[in-house]
Symmetry: C2
Subunit: 494 residues, 2 copies
């Protein structure tokens, strides 16, 4: 998130004890393998699956060496032999503000009074008689203006997804279309399972609702993930005071459930699938430029949110007062093209969207427009809140793994913008193919090697004039985090 949030934002408070006091995660997040207590200093917090020793943690936090971190041989291996690597930034913030999480989560059907009677008949009975299913989960969180939101999101987002899915255990395991209406609400203690309610369907349902829209199982999972992001954001809002949670974060999560990948993105991280050398985009970035029209539309309808400081119109540059009455290029919420307008007094305000590419900012403050947290973020030295313009909702794309034959070299790559800023999709695909061909298909380390290589190539090498890539261009000075998830091949789906 280098340069993406103006350094001057009032809330910038690095290293405030983020995460402290939160419910302890399933595994300790570094800071002493095996210790069940909260990490001693949340600022040093790294992903639990890295199982870093205190010494390793100090090395990971060193801006000078920028050592690449990966799960070590002999320690816990990530599911599907997933590769992971990360590196800290070159000094733009005190600690690595990226966070990551990788979990296999059991979604247990919510208990119901009459449920036990049915439990032997339903499918999906797992885990010692508990009814439910598993999902696999990988997620990256790219924090800004403090690490609190990213840390909490990395600890809790999968819990919220699980919580949303619990009401759907019966429905998702039933091949017939999801019921439009449930007699009693999910979560309601009097709720009974769908199967038990057949007798309760009103007789007039079929003729009455000929305009009934079909809803797929897939769209229920998408809705569950969308709402989980919202609940995650609400939790950060509720607990930010008590837990001193600073900042916000982009969130990119891949969920594997019942044969399909659901890739949910809110922010400027990116996911691509590389299949047989072909690149399949699995996300798009949400920035002031890509979401310009949504933001301008909101500003037009709710001008009070702009606090008389901003105009919802976009101009190619700032207007000077002496240019009043001249004609300048502009565009509004309806336009994709540009046109000239006569400059009026109101146009002298700062444009809601300003700048280009990585330098594009909303309200001169933030360079991403979706994500979690940022509830206290304000325009510098003003009382104008940014949050109303941010969306915590992800875009979810679905990839059906069962529709294709996958070979061991087909992968899903998740990366924070530290990767993509200097290494484009095609280059990433090139590295993936290059590294994978140099390892045996059943080598358990090959995906980790890819992740490490991607991080190293994007970080570059420290020279006299800073971190440099092989082509001598500037390497990424941002935090970089990468997952490389194999889509096929022997023994990966365990």
């Amino acid at each position: 998130m280098l340069l993406r949030v103006r350094a001057a934002v009032a809330q910038l408070a690095a290293g405030l004890g983020a995460g402290a006091g939160a419910q302890p995660p399933a595994e300790p997040r570094g800071g002493g393998a095996g210790s069940g207590a909260s990490p001693p200093a949340a600022a040093f917090c790294r992903p639990a699956f890295l199982q870093l020793t205190p010494e390793e943690l100090r090395r990971a936090d060193d801006h000078t060496g920028r050592a690449v971190q990966s799960p070590r041989d002999g320690r816990r291996r990530l599911p599907w032999r997933t590769g992971y690597a990360e590196v800290i930034n070159a000094g733009k913030s005190q600690h690595n503000e990226d966070q990551a999480c990788c979990e296999v989560v059991f979604v247990e059907r919510r208990p119901s009074p009459r449920g036990r009677l049915m439990s032997r008949e339903g499918c999906g009975e797992l885990d010692g008689g508990r009814k439910g299913f598993y999902f696999h989960y990988w997620a990256l969180f790219d924090g800004h203006a403090g690490s609190g939101a990213a840390v909490m999101a990395s600890e809790k987002l999968h819990v919220h997804i699980c919580e949303q899915l619990r009401d759907l255990v019966d429905i998702l395991q039933d091949p017939s279309p999801p019921p439009i209406c449930l007699p009693h609400g999910p979560g309601d203690p009097t709720r009974v399972s769908v199967a038990e309610d057949d007798g309760e369907v009103p007789n007039d349902a079929v003729p009455r609702f000929h305009l009934e829209k079909a809803v797929s199982h897939e769209s229920l999972v998408i809705g569950a993930i969308e709402n989980a992001f919202k609940h995650m954001d609400d939790q950060i809002e509720r607990e930010r005071g008590a837990q001193h949670l600073a900042g916000g974060c982009c969130a990119l999560a891949a969920i594997y459930l019942m044969g399909k990948f659901y890739v949910a993105n809110a922010g400027d991280s990116r996911a691509i699938i590389i299949r047989n050398g072909e690149i399949i985009p699995m996300s798009r970035e949400f920035t002031p430029e890509t979401e310009r029209q949504r933001l301008q539309f909101l500003a037009l309808l709710r001008p009070e949110l702009l606090g008389k400081e901003f105009t919802h119109l976009e101009f190619p540059r700032r207007i000077q007062p002496k240019e009043l009455g001249k004609k300048m290029l502009y565009r509004d919420q309806n336009m994709n093209g540009w046109a000239y307008k006569k400059i009026e007094e109101d146009d002298l305000k700062f444009p809601l969207i300003y700048g280009e590419g990585k330098k594009a900012r909303m309200m001169a403050t933030i360079g991403v427009t979706r994500g979690l947290g940022d509830h206290d973020l304000k325009v510098f030295s003003s009382n104008i809140h940014i949050k109303p313009f941010l969306s915590c909702f992800p875009e979810v794309r679905v990839y059906d793994l069962t529709q294709y034959e996958h070979c061991p070299d087909d992968v899903l790559v998740l990366g924070t913008d530290g990767l993509w800023d200097v290494t484009n999709d095609k280059e990433v695909a090139g590295v993936v193919m290059e590294v994978l061909t140099s390892y045996e298909p059943n080598d358990p380390c090959r995906y980790t090697m890819v992740a490490q290589e991607l991080v190293v190539r994007s970080r570059g090498v420290l020279k006299e004039r800073g971190w440099r890539l092989a082509n001598d261009k500037l390497g990424s000075g941002d935090d970089i985090s990468v997952f490389v998830i194999p889509l096929g091949g022997p023994g990966n789906y365990t």
Copy 2:
């Protein structure tokens, strides 16, 4: 637009003298070839380029025979040998509510006091010393709830596009990037040409505006087209009272300018390019389903527009009062997936978006969400206006003709939904290839033959059980209009 607007809308008034009193178009719109007067009855109005005799006009208006209309041999030929064909609906409205226009338009630079001094130096000096350029223009307008808006738009939209482009004559012909700021506004009588203003650029411009955004010539043309649609809509609003303009229309326009096609679409017509057998979509449809989130967002922010009759939430079907307290699938403006919510009193209101596919409606009234007109359209027996939810702005897609080698069989097809409802992209491409191969590449009629065949195949043949396609499925009972525009080949670019 069959079934796209509830028949009961208050404004449905077929055959009101639409277009009467409007400025006469460059050529009379049927109703007597060669007569310079306004058409005697706008309801019978057909595209001017068809040059229909009164007898032909009566035949074109016959719902029973549904004769296909095309420009006749020996009369004026359309530019580029463009093919065109149309047919009236099977009785859903009194007259054919589609309209079409095809013009070559000269954009003359707006005169300026000092302009004459420069006129010999500039490029683009054409047409007896007048400075400017030409654009080619093809457009389809699919009217609903009256023919007035479609007729006026077919007469005037290209005039508005020309008007918007007039201010850009110098800028578009200058290969350097468009100026961000003009010393005096286009249309301002004191305006001087860009070339004349070089000396007036402030010295501090370069260091001061390092964040200046580059704007392309192409995006100026897009902006001009977008604003032309807005001005067209404003004109319909202004003149609808005096001229009894009823209804609204979808608008699809293709503009060829300086080597590029600009395809602007507002509504549910469609444009595709067929190049070497490959289909390239040049538009997308704007319907309650495709624009759901924009509409829900507006309704959420401006609930007063719903008049307490509608809810911005979408449900898969109507909710019955007895279902209060149960859980039902829903989605809001943030969601693409579905989730369950407990039904509350407010959810019993009618959903803003309701129905599926061709039956999807906004506020139970209209099946398209962009277009021109509809200023008086209200929800049946209410005072709730539809117009705030409609957008008159098109999406403009650009196709650079100079980037590809085109053969005589490569075409751009524009069609109203009467075509696409029964004949999909692939089938249209099949017909195009099939018909073109049976005519010589230099046969001037071949594109007309394609357009006719597309219309005939979509209309079908009248049998005992109505209009039937070759596969015995129901043919389109809607008005059908098709342009087939060749992209290459000898002698077409004249």
